[in-house]
Structures are given as structure tokens and as C-alpha cells.
């Protein structure tokens, strides 16, 4: 510190002298400079932060007085501004000076104005309200005849300018594109670029002028225009393909040294310009052979010309390689580019090595053999002392992972995780690990999988995204395709957790403990040697540990509850109950009481907590109909009828405001803890834990190392013999890392090797699972409560609704007018089916058109075919039912006899045949339709209709062909046309509600477009739009209504569903989210 002070002090006089212009006005200037100088010097001389604070506060107080004093001249103000900037830079608040900065820019002469503008650009940000006060000044300066003023105005505009004020200056800036001075034209182009970034629509009309700027005789202006082009081409490359020739020519001239010498940078011609052009070419040539061909020559020249003598040529080379690999490939160029990458990777300079790895990472997806060429370098980088090199190497390895090297790579990643302290990197890295572990199906065996996940959870448990443990649990619960294999996996998990818990003085993150407790609760029954009591003992120890968060304790308690019915002796459970029924934690106390009462009836408990049923659907009677008797009794004794919370709220509001339709938010629920949610516990917070029980631990590393060894021995060892020990180790590592990449193996590079078992692919549990995923943070379903009683929502509609239905016939819905755009948008509903669109022969089309054109229908889709017939089907969404039409078309040359189609009866549906299905002869190339009406009997989430057709060909015996088609609940959703008032009445009478916020991009935020999407894709009826709120209604066939209230905030749409049926709002909110996020 002291030498700096000294230097400062000795340098000061010289500095002031240097700054003084010769002659007269030296005196005042020196005094101004010395004020900043004095401040700086004063601060430097101080030794403590506290003293600095004091000094700056004093300085700021002085400044505050000075800037607001009326006698302060602009010149003094300018000087004050400089000191204010300095104070802000040191981290002190100088906001009182902002307005004066604007004033200074407005009123000062050039000298002062420049400082004023600078202060504004440093003090304010784009959305600052004071910025509006600057607009007039900018407009004035843009019109000035003084070049410097115009330049200043353009500079500030391109730095910060309020978006809504762009129209005020846009014409002025457009004019500047024709200015005689190139510096003005250049700045104008950049200002427009800035506008393009913040408000692209506003500059759309000047695209043609950008072209002029591209052809400007001044290189600077042309270079500036490339910024805009890069942006525009990135958004829509196809619109600018015609410019490819121009860009190529420009690049040729630049590379060929045709530019003025002062654009050279260390004798390399205009490197920034070159890089910009290379990026543009990369975008234009992507997946486009013809365009790419135009640029091969110039790219080749660029690669050749860039002589490797300076960093900047490497920078260009790097960009060039990137472009070569982005465009349509040409082997010659690829070869040269690969050589370049080699130069980077092998360079002793660490910066170049880093870029080499980065380039490899990019290129490796297209050419994995490159990794093989450089494997030894990569191995060296893996142990590089600089963590960023390691990090990039891991990223590279991540991209070459396959079934054979996954163990080693994950091992390396975990090592890095143990060392790294950067949270962002940790999160990123084990996301990669998890992908490798689970999604990409590389995991070699159960033990490895569980051990790796254990390692991940123990290292990163507290920073990871909560989805990760949840998904892991779901994976475990839902299992893979093989049930015995699943049980092994679960058993292994249970065993490994018990071992971990038995380790002395081990600390695990809360999330990991939660995972453990869930798994132990669910799958301890698989243990053969240990009894449930033993598991409960361990859980009990954890529960008594003070360092465990109450959220985790809730998980632990749930596990105990699940295990209790399986246990034979109940001493421990009773002790637990005793302990926690007097707990100060209300949540724990409630659990304890729950357990206490359940414990009194073990049989009931057994039925409530069945073993291994975590994946079963839970059916809950939300209407609590089993209480009807109790309620009736209460009412008969004069109790007031129950009003649901929202109804009370509405009544209260309507009393207050005379307006019934408001969102409710006054009742505060924050203090009350919600214990059980739909999917299990709803817990919170975390801390640290420890536990102490001794038992032989399973060494964690064991299995991974064994696997690694196996992989290594697979490779030939001839090369290994001659090298030193260290070299050998590296070779070994290399061979295990790059196994499966080489040409000798001719293994499907990077692709998933077919030898891998597919057991780690998730088994689908239908849409239900996906819905849980998106809607709930705690998606682990608890197996309890599942068998309480059945849904009885259909009994639940209210008289008001049936009256409504009577008064207005539903068949009059104005569907016809929407038919055209609906059938266009229909495929999006069925995009999941992934089927070819079948083009119906004219006769089918005609019959479709004739009979049912009144209703919306889906496209014709082929469901199955063979050499003789093709069966396709489509859905017609009739008002009262779903009409399925299967159309059987015989192919040319074959004649069908006695074709017969039958549909298997299906759960949830009532299927009725519409017309005669039997026909004697289907002539060649003719079609025949079978129609079935499908009525909904029970709400469902995923349905399926299957059936078969049998027919006889002329010469053969009968052939049977099976098919099936998916049905979605959406097929049974119809618009419900009611008035706003009826909506209000119905709204209050429905008990089941679901709220959801959906983020949308800005373009969607407009309510009408969102509503239109819902109307077209989900067939909701738009009743009314009031300001930023929208009312919609629909019904599930035969007549279960559901209402939707939408409200738009800035870019969030708040959806609020209500219905008499409990599952419908959930389902619809999921569908809404899907269509709105998808569109």
C-alpha cells in the first residue's frame, strides 16, 4: 500500500502540470483538477475502510451542497460530476447528482456536455425514469451543426435510450445515414443497431438503408452494418442468402489486404471485421450446400493466410474452424480445420490450449476420431493445475461418453466435484453426470448407478435442483422394464443407504436424507435379513438428531409411518409417539398424533399403507360425500350450512365493493403449515445432520474401480510395455476414456451402442407422470390414503347447471364457422401420435364432407396396414359424443370378402356401433367406413381403443389385423356456451379449484391471442373479456362443466379453474400449459 501512496504523491505535481494548457486559464483549471486529485490522494492515504467511508461521506455532503447551490456554475458542476462518478465507482450512492448530470448534458458547453453525457451513461440504466428528461437534449444535439455534439448524442443513444422514445429520434438518426462524414454515418448505423436490439419492429422499415450502409465506401460504416446483419441473419438466415456473394467478396478483399493499412492490427488486416464476416458465413451456410459452396474458396484462403505468429491470427483461425464445421461439410476444408485444431491443442500456450479444447468440444460431435488423435493431450489436461482447463476437458469428455467409458468419465467428474467450490459449476457438472447416469442409458449396472447417485447426492445435495432427487425417486419407483431387475435395484438402494446411515460421524445433505427416508419407507420390505424394526431404529436416531431440519424430519416420520404396519414389535413406535406428541414443532406433533391414532388399528393402517404401491393412482373423494350423513345430521340440528372459503370471500368482497368478481388474496395462509399435499408431504428448509451407529461400511469407490479395470484390460497392452510408469497410467486412462471411439472397434461412434441394456430407460407411466412432473415440485407420491373412497363427482352437479343446459341447447354452438381453422390446427392436438397423414381417396373425403361436416374432426391417420388393406381413422368431435370413424381401404388388385371390424370394449367408455359393420365384398381400391360413437363413462387421463378387422381375400383364408388408437380426455371436452352472469353463479357453486400461472413470451401476453389458442386447441368457449381478464367455459361430456378465469399480468397468465369434478381442473390446467407453452 505504502509504495503506491508514495508513487501517487510523487507523480501528482507532474500530472497537474501535464494537464494544464499553457497560458492564462491555468489557475482555475488546476484548482478543479486538484479537487479530484485531492480526493484521490486523500483516499489513497487512508488505511482503513472506515476512514474512507467517513471521508467519502464528507465529500458527498460537500458535493450535495455544491450541486444544489444556485451559484454553482456549469464549470464547477462539471468538476463535481467527475468527483461524483468517482464516488459511485468506489461504491457509494451519489443518486442526488443524477438529475444534475442530465442538466449538465442539457445546458453545458461542449466540454461540460461531454462530461454530463458520460455521467448519465454511467449513472442511469435503460429503464431509469430520469432518462426521459434527456430525450429533448438528444433531439437538439442530433440537429446540431457541430459534429462533436452530434457524435455525443449518437453515442449516448447507442448506450442507453428509453425504448418508448425511439420514435422521437429515429427520423433524425435515419437522416444521419446520408451524412457526409463517415464517423457520423458509422455511429448512426450503430445507434440503429441498438434500436434493432431493443425494438426490432421499429426499425423494420429501414432495412433497405442497411443495405446501403453495407455498400458504404467507408470501411468503418460497412463494418458497423455487419453487426445488424449478423443479428438479422441469425434470426432468419434464409432471407439474406442473396447477400452471401457480397460477404464473400468483402472477406476476400479483407484477407487479401485490400483495406487501408490503419485497419491493420499487428499487421493482420481488420481482425474484428474478419471474425464478424466468418460468423455471418457460418450462419448462412448452415445446412445449405449451394450457399456453402460459394464460400469454400475464401475459407480455404483464410485458413491459409492466417500465419501463426500472433494471438489475433489464432482468434481468426478459431472462428474459421467454427465456420468450416458449421456449414455444409467439405472434406478438404475439414481436414485443414482439424489440423488447425491440432495446432491449438498442442500449443504450449495455455490460452490456445483452452481454445483448442473448446474447438474440439464443438467439433467432436461430427468427428469423434479427432478426440482419439489428441487423447494424450486430453489426458494431460484432465490433471491440469488450472481448473478451467479441467472443466473444459470434462465438458469434452461428456460429449464422447458411451457405454464403455461412462464409468471412468463419471468418476473424473465426481473427482472434480469434490474439489470445486464454485456453485454454478457444481450444479452444471452434476446435471451432466445425471444425464449420463439416467437419461442416456449408459449405466452399466445397478450397483454403479446407486453408488454414483449416492456420491452425487452427498456432494451436491444441498445445491442441486429439487427436481433431481424427485426424479431419481420416481425412476426408482416406476422402475424399468424388468420387474425383478427393479427389485434388485431397490434392494440395493435400501442396503446401501442403511450402510451409509450406519457410518459413524457421517454428514449427509438434507436432500440426500430425504431421498433415503423415502426409499427406506417404501422398500425396506425387500430386506430379508433385517426387520422393519431395525430400519425404524435408524430412522428414530435421525429423528432425535437436532441438526436435522424439520422438513427432513417430516420425511423421516412418513417413512416410520409406512414401516409401522410391517413391524412386529411396536415399542419403538410407541416411544416415538410419546416423544413427539409433546414436540414443540406443530408439524411433528401432528404427525405423531396421526401415527398414534392409526397405530391403534393396525389392520386399517395396513390397508392405508400397502406395500409397494407408490405408483398406483390415488383416488380421493374431494367432495367428501362420505360425510353427507354427518352433515345432514348437523344441519337438522340447526347448524349453519357450510360455505367454502372462496364463497365466503366472494360474499365479503361483493358486500364491500358490490362487485363479485375479484381475485381473493386477503386470507393469509402463510402461518399455517400444510402437511399433506396431493403428492405427499409438503416440507420446508434444511440444515446438517450426523449419526452414529457402527456397522461395516460398503466402500464407495470399490465398484467403479473394478469396472474401470475391466474396461482397461479389454484394450491391448502392447504399447504400454515400453513406457514409464506415469506414462502407462496415462495410457491406461486414455484407453479407458476413448474406448468405443476408435476406428478399430468400428463401434457406432457417440451413438448409443446397441450392446447396452436398455434397462435405464424410463418406463412410461403415461401422461399422468408427465403432468406430475410439470405441476408439482414434490412429485413423490405417497402410497397412503389411496383407497379411501371413489370419486363421485358426477353426482355433484348443481341444479343451476342443469337449468342452464335446458335453456340453451348445446347443439346450437357456432362450431361451423370455426371449422376451417380448427381442422387446420387440429393436428397439433394429435402431434403426439406421430403418424403419417393418410390421404384419403376421393370417396372417403366426400363422405366425410357430406355426413359430418358440421362438426370438427381430426385428420385422417393410418393406424395399420398390410399388403392388402390400409386402415385409417379419424375422430369427429360431435356435440354429445366422440364419433370414431375407421376407414378401411383395400389396395389395388386385392378384393376383400366379408370384411368385419370389431372394437374391444374398453374401460371408461361406452362404445356403440353406428351403422352396419359387415359388408360382403370390398372391391379393389375402394373404401369402407365403420363408425362408432364413444361415450365417456368415467373421467380418465389416458385411454386407448383397440380392435381388429378380419377379412378374406379372394384366394386365401381370413386374415385378422389388429390396431389401436389413443384417446385423450380432450376428445370429450366441448365448449360450454353460457352468459357472464351464469358464469358468476356457477363459479361460486363449484368446490374444486386449481390455479396456475403460466409464463408466456411477450408476444403471447395479449389476452385475446391466448384465449384464441385455448379456444382453438382445447375447445373452450370464450364467454367474455373484461379488461385484462377473460372468462371461458367448457364441459366434459356428457355434462360436467368446468370454468376458467384468466388474468394477464405483464407476461404471466394466471389461470384459475373451477369445476364440480375434482380431476377436471387439474387435467385442463395441464393441457392449457401444454398448448400455451407449445405455441
Amino acid at each position: 500500500m505504502s509504495d503506491i501512496v508514495e508513487k501517487t504523491l510523487t507523480a501528482l505535481p507532474g500530472l497537474f502540470l501535464q494537464n494544464q494548457p499553457a497560458g492564462g486559464p491555468a489557475a482555475p483549471k488546476a484548482s478543479f483538477s486538484s479537487r479530484l486529485g485531492g480526493l484521490v490522494r486523500g483516499i489513497t492515504a487512508l488505511t482503513s475502510k472506515h476512514e474512507e467511508e467517513k471521508l467519502i461521506q464528507q465529500e458527498l455532503n460537500n458535493l450535495k451542497a455544491t450541486v444544489s447551490a444556485p451559484t454553482t456554475t456549469l464549470k464547477m458542476m462539471k468538476e463535481c460530476m467527475v468527483r461524483l462518478i468517482y464516488c459511485e465507482m468506489l461504491g457509494y450512492d451519489a443518486s442526488f447528482g443524477y438529475i444534475h448530470a442530465i442538466k449538465l448534458a442539457q445546458q453545458g458547453n461542449l466540454l461540460e456536455k461531454r462530461v454530463g453525457y458520460l455521467a448519465v451513461s454511467l449513472f442511469l440504466h435503460e429503464n431509469h425514469e430520469l432518462l426521459l428528461l434527456l430525450v429533448n437534449t438528444v433531439v437538439k444535439d442530433l440537429q446540431s451543426t457541430n459534429l462533436v455534439e452530434v457524435c455525443m448524442a449518437l453515442t449516448i443513444v447507442s448506450q442507453i435510450f428509453p425504448r418508448e422514445m425511439i420514435p422521437a429520434v429515429l427520423p433524425l438518426i435515419e437522416d444521419k445515414l446520408q451524412h457526409s462524414k463517415e464517423i457520423i454515418r458509422r455511429k448512426a448505423v450503430l445507434a440503429l443497431y441498438k434500436f434493432y436490439l431493443i425494438a426490432p419492429n421499429q426499425v423494420q422499415h429501414i432495412h433497405i438503408k442497411f443495405r446501403k450502409a453495407l455498400c458504404d465506401r467507408d470501411v468503418g460504416v460497412m463494418a458497423a452494418s455487419l453487426h445488424i446483419y449478423l443479428r438479422m441473419i441469425k434470426e432468419n438466415s434464409s432471407a439474406y442468402k442473396d447477400l452471401t456473394g457480397s460477404f464473400v467478396t468483402i472477406l476476400k478483399q479483407v484477407v487479401g489486404g485490400k483495406l487501408p493499412v490503419d485497419f491493420n492490427y499487428h499487421s493482420v488486416p481488420a481482425p474484428w471485421l474478419q471474425i464478424q464476416l466468418l460468423r455471418i458465413l457460418g450462419l448462412l451456410g448452415k445446412d445449405d450446400q449451394r450457399t456453402s459452396e460459394l464460400m469454400y474458396d475464401v475459407l480455404d484462403e483464410s485458413l491459409r493466410r492466417a500465419e501463426l505468429n500472433h494471438n489475433v491470427t489464432y482468434a481468426i483461425l478459431f472462428e474459421c474452424v467454427h465456420t468450416v464445421y458449421s456449414i455444409y461439410p467439405k472434406s478438404e476444408l475439414l481436414e485443414k480445420a482439424a489440423k488447425c485444431i491440432g495446432k491449438f491443442v498442442l500449443s504450449p500456450k495455455i490460452n490456445l490450449k483452452y481454445l483448442g479444447l473448446k474447438a474440439l468440444t464443438y467439433v467432436i460431435q461430427q468427428d469423434p476420431t479427432l478426440a482419439l488423435q489428441h487423447q494424450m493431450t486430453i489426458i494431460e489436461c484432465l490433471d491440469h493445475p488450472d481448473p478451467i482447463i479441467k472443466r473444459e476437458t470434462l465438458e469434452l469428455l461428456y460429449r464422447i461418453t458411451n457405454a464403455q467409458n461412462v464409468t471412468v468419465i463419471v468418476q473424473k467428474m465426481l473427482e472434480y466435484l469434490h474439489q470445486s467450490k464454485e456453485e454454478y459449476i457444481i450444479v452444471n457438472l452434476f446435471e451432466s453426470i445425471l444425464v449420463l447416469n439416467t437419461v442416456d442409458t449408459y449405466a452399466p449396472d445397478n450397483a454403479w448407478f446407486i453408488q454414483t447417485m449416492n456420491a452425487v447426492f452427498s456432494v451436491g445435495g444441498d445445491v442441486m435442483h429439487p427436481d433431481i432427487p424427485n426424479n431419481f425417486l420416481r425412476l426408482l419407483a416406476e422402475g424399468f422394464d424388468d420387474e425383478t431387475e427393479d427389485q434388485h435395484l431397490r434392494l440395493y438402494a435400501v442396503q446401501s443407504y442403511l450402510t451409509l446411515l450406519d457410518m459413524e460421524n457421517a454428514f449427509y445433505p438434507q436432500r440426500f436424507l430425504q431421498v433415503m427416508s423415502w426409499v427406506l419407507g417404501e422398500y425396506s420390505y425387500l430386506l430379508e435379513k433385517e426387520k422393519p424394526e431395525d430400519v425404524i431404529t435408524r430412522l428414530y436416531k435421525l429423528l432425535m438428531n437436532d441438526s436435522i431440519s424439520s422438513e427432513t424430519k417430516a420425511w423421516l416420520f412418513a417413512a416410520v409411518i409406512k414401516l409401522t404396519p410391517q413391524a412386529h414389535s411396536s415399542n419403538l413406535v410407541e416411544r416415538l409417539i410419546q416423544e413427539f406428541t409433546i414436540s414443540l414443532d406443530t408439524c411433528m406433533r401432528q404427525h405423531a398424533f396421526e401415527l398414534k391414532y392409526l397405530h391403534e388399528n393396525i389392520e386399517l393402517m395396513k390397508s392405508l399403507f400397502p406395500v409397494d404401491k407408490s405408483c398406483e393412482e390415488m383416488v380421493v373423494d374431494a367432495s367428501l360425500s362420505f360425510l353427507d350423513g354427518f352433515v345432514a345430521e348437523g344441519l337438522s340440528q340447526g347448524a349453519a350450512p357450510y360455505k367454502p372459503h372462496h364463497q365466503r370471500q366472494e360474499e365479503k368482497l361483493s358486500q364491500e365493493k358490490g362487485d363479485f368478481f375479484h381475485e381473493t388474496s386477503s386470507l393469509k395462509l402463510e402461518g399455517i403449515k400444510k402437511l399433506w399435499g396431493k403428492e405427499g408431504y409438503l416440507p420446508k428448509k434444511e440444515s446438517k445432520i450426523g449419526d452414529e451407529v457402527e456397522a461395516p461400511p460398503i466402500p464407495q469407490e470399490n465398484l467403479t474401480i473394478e469396472n474401470m479395470d475391466q474396461v482397461i484390460t479389454k484394450r491391448d497392452q502392447s504399447q504400454v510395455l515400453t513406457q514409464s510408469k506415469e506414462e502407462k497410467e496415462k495410457q491406461l486412462l486414455a484407453s479407458s476414456l476413448f474406448v468405443g471411439l476408435g476406428s478399430e472397434g468400428t463401434i457406432n461412434l457417440l451413438g448409443k451402442a446397441d450392446t447396452v441394456s436398455h434397462k435405464f430407460r424410463r418406463k412410461s407411466k403415461g401422461k399422468e407422470a408427465q403432468r406430475e412432473e410439470t405441476t408439482s415440485a414434490h412429485s413423490v407420491t405417497c402410497s397412503s390414503l389411496s383407497s379411501l373412497s371413489k370419486v363421485t363427482c358426477e353426482n355433484n352437479y348443481l341444479n343451476t347447471f342443469s337449468q342452464l343446459l335446458d335453456s340453451e341447447s348445446l347443439t346450437e354452438l357456432p362450431l361451423v364457422e370455426k371449422l376451417s381453422d380448427c381442422s387446420l390446427s387440429a393436428p397439433s392436438l394429435f402431434a403426439d401420435n406421430d403418424m403419417e397423414i393418410f390421404h384419403p381417396p376421393p370417396s372417403t373425403a366426400a363422405s366425410v364432407a357430406k355426413g359430418i361436416s358440421l362438426y370438427m374432426h381430426s385428420n385422417l391417420m393410418e393406424v395399420c396396414n398390410n399388403e392388402a388393406v390400409s386402415i385409417s381413422s379419424y375422430k369427429i368431435w360431435k356435440d354429445d359424443c366422440l364419433l370414431m370413424v375407421w376407414s378401411v381401404a383395400s389396395k389395388s388388385g386385392s378384393e376383400l370378402k366379408s370384411a368385419n371390424l370389431e372394437i374391444f370394449p374398453a374401460e371408461n367408455f361406452k362404445i356403440t356401433e353406428q351403422l352396419g359393420c359387415c359388408l360382403p365384398v370390398v372391391e379393389a381400391e375402394s373404401t369402407r367406413n365403420f363408425q362408432y360413437s364413444v361415450h365417456l363413462e368415467k373421467p380418465f387421463t389416458e385411454g386407448n381403443l383397440s380392435g381388429f378387422i378380419n377379412y378374406q381375400l379372394m384366394d386365401t383364408h381370413s386374415v385378422q389385423l389388429e390396431f389401436s388408437i389413443n384417446l385423450s380426455l380432450l376428445d370429450f371436452i366441448r365448449p360450454l356456451k353460457i352468459s357472464t352472469e351464469d358464469f358468476g353463479k356457477l363459479w361460486l357453486s363449484f368446490a374444486n379449484d386449481v390455479k396456475q400461472n403460466i409464463k408466456t413470451s411477450e408476444s403471447q401476453a395479449a389476452l385475446p391471442s391466448a384465449l384464441k389458442t385455448l379456444q382453438q386447441k382445447l375447445r373452450l368457449h370464450v364467454i367474455d373479456i373484461i379488461g385484462n381478464e377473460g372468462l371461458l367455459a367448457c364441459q366434459m361430456l356428457p355434462s360436467v362443466p368446468c370454468l376458467l378465469h384468466c388474468r394477464v399480468h405483464t407476461n404471466v397468465i394466471a389461470l384459475w379453474f373451477r369445476s364440480s369434478c375434482s380431476s377436471l381442473p387439474d387435467y385442463l390446467s395441464y393441457q392449457c400449459q401444454k398448448v400455451m407453452e407449445g405455441s
Partner: protein, 180 residues
């Protein structure tokens, strides 16, 4: 069939890795100059950032950069950004860019800025920048506009600055004469 069933979890990660290296329009996020002692000398933010966030970022980043050893790579991953830094005597020049950008050219950009400062001040030292930081800002604004390189010609950047300086001096003298 397996791939269709990955669920959104898998999909999320897949998209993450796919977009990682797509070409972006690259804009510099901010530039900082600070001393070896951790004193901020200049800061320029090209993306609207709240005051509190700025202070936090500056503090954190200074710590990270100052802890680096001299022979280490000039690039580092920090939050979701790539930081490119270089030390000139007692002063660190530090730019934050997006991960897809070209780190090497950013390093050269820093160097070009130092060259410009050097030419303007005549063998620049930290003190020049401390006492004339507004000049350093003017030069930066002339060189980078909104985080993009405005002019690669050293001559024209300095010409613009000198022109403005000159006009200023003349005006300043005029106005002072008027005052007298």
C-alpha cells in the same frame, strides 16, 4: 421408443447441451479495470444491471481474478459468463462475455484498448487512469459502442478523441475569455 419417454427431465438436459455451442449474437456484458489491491478504476456495463447486483458482481469477480496465479489461463468461467482478463503492470483489465464468444479476440480487444490508452496518454500508467478516468471512458466509448467494436482503426479512434478534445479546449478558452 425409449426416447419418447424421457419425460421433460431428459428433454431439458438435452436442449441444454444442444444450445451450448450454437452461434449467438455476442455482446460484451461489462468491462472492469481494477488494481492489484482490489480498487475499482473503471467500470462499464453494457447490459442493464441493478446497482446492488453490480457491486456484488464486482466484488466477487475481483476476488476470483486476483486469486488466479500468473501462469494460468486468461479465461475463466464465472457464473454463466466467460471472463477474459489480462494484467498490465498493476492494473487488471477484465471483460465478461458470453460463453460462446471468441475469448481470444476479446483478449486482443483489451490489448487494443490498452494500446489506445498508451498512445493517448503517452506510456500510460495506473495513475493516468485514476486521475483522468473520464478520458479513459471517452476513449472506451469511442472504441466500443454498446459492447461492440466500433472501429478497428487506431488512428480514427484517437482522431475522434483529439478532435473532441481540441474543440473543447477552444470552446473552454473562449468561454473563459468571455467570463473575463
Amino acid at each position: 421408443k425409449g426416447h419418447l419417454e424421457l419425460g421433460s427431465w431428459g428433454k431439458r438436459f438435452r436442449t441444454k447441451s444442444r444450445t451450448l455451442h450454437s452461434v449467438h449474437v455476442l455482446q460484451m456484458r461489462f468491462m472492469l479495470l481494477f488494481s492489484r489491491q482490489g480498487k475499482l478504476r473503471l467500470q462499464k456495463w453494457y447490459l442493464a444491471t441493478s446497482d446492488k447486483e453490480r457491486k456484488k458482481m464486482v466484488r466477487e469477480l475481483m476476488q476470483v481474478v486476483l486469486a488466479r496465479k500468473p501462469k494460468m489461463c486468461s479465461f475463466l468461467e464465472w457464473r454463466d459468463l466467460k471472463v477474459v482478463y489480462k494484467r498490465y503492470a498493476s492494473l487488471y483489465f477484465c471483460c465478461a462475455i458470453e460463453g460462446q464468444d471468441n475469448e481470444l479476440i476479446t483478449l486482443e480487444l483489451i490489448h487494443r484498448y490498452v494500446e489506445l490508452l498508451d498512445k493517448y496518454f503517452g506510456s500510460v500508467c495506473e495513475l493516468d487512469i485514476i486521475f483522468n478516468f473520464e478520458k479513459a471512458y471517452f476513449i472506451l466509448d469511442e472504441f466500443l459502442m454498446g459492447g461492440d467494436v466500433q472501429d478497428t482503426s487506431k488512428k480514427s479512434v484517437l482522431k475522434a478523441i483529439e478532435q473532441a478534445d481540441l474543440l473543447q479546449e477552444v470552446r473552454a478558452r473562449d468561454s473563459e475569455e468571455e467570463e473575463e
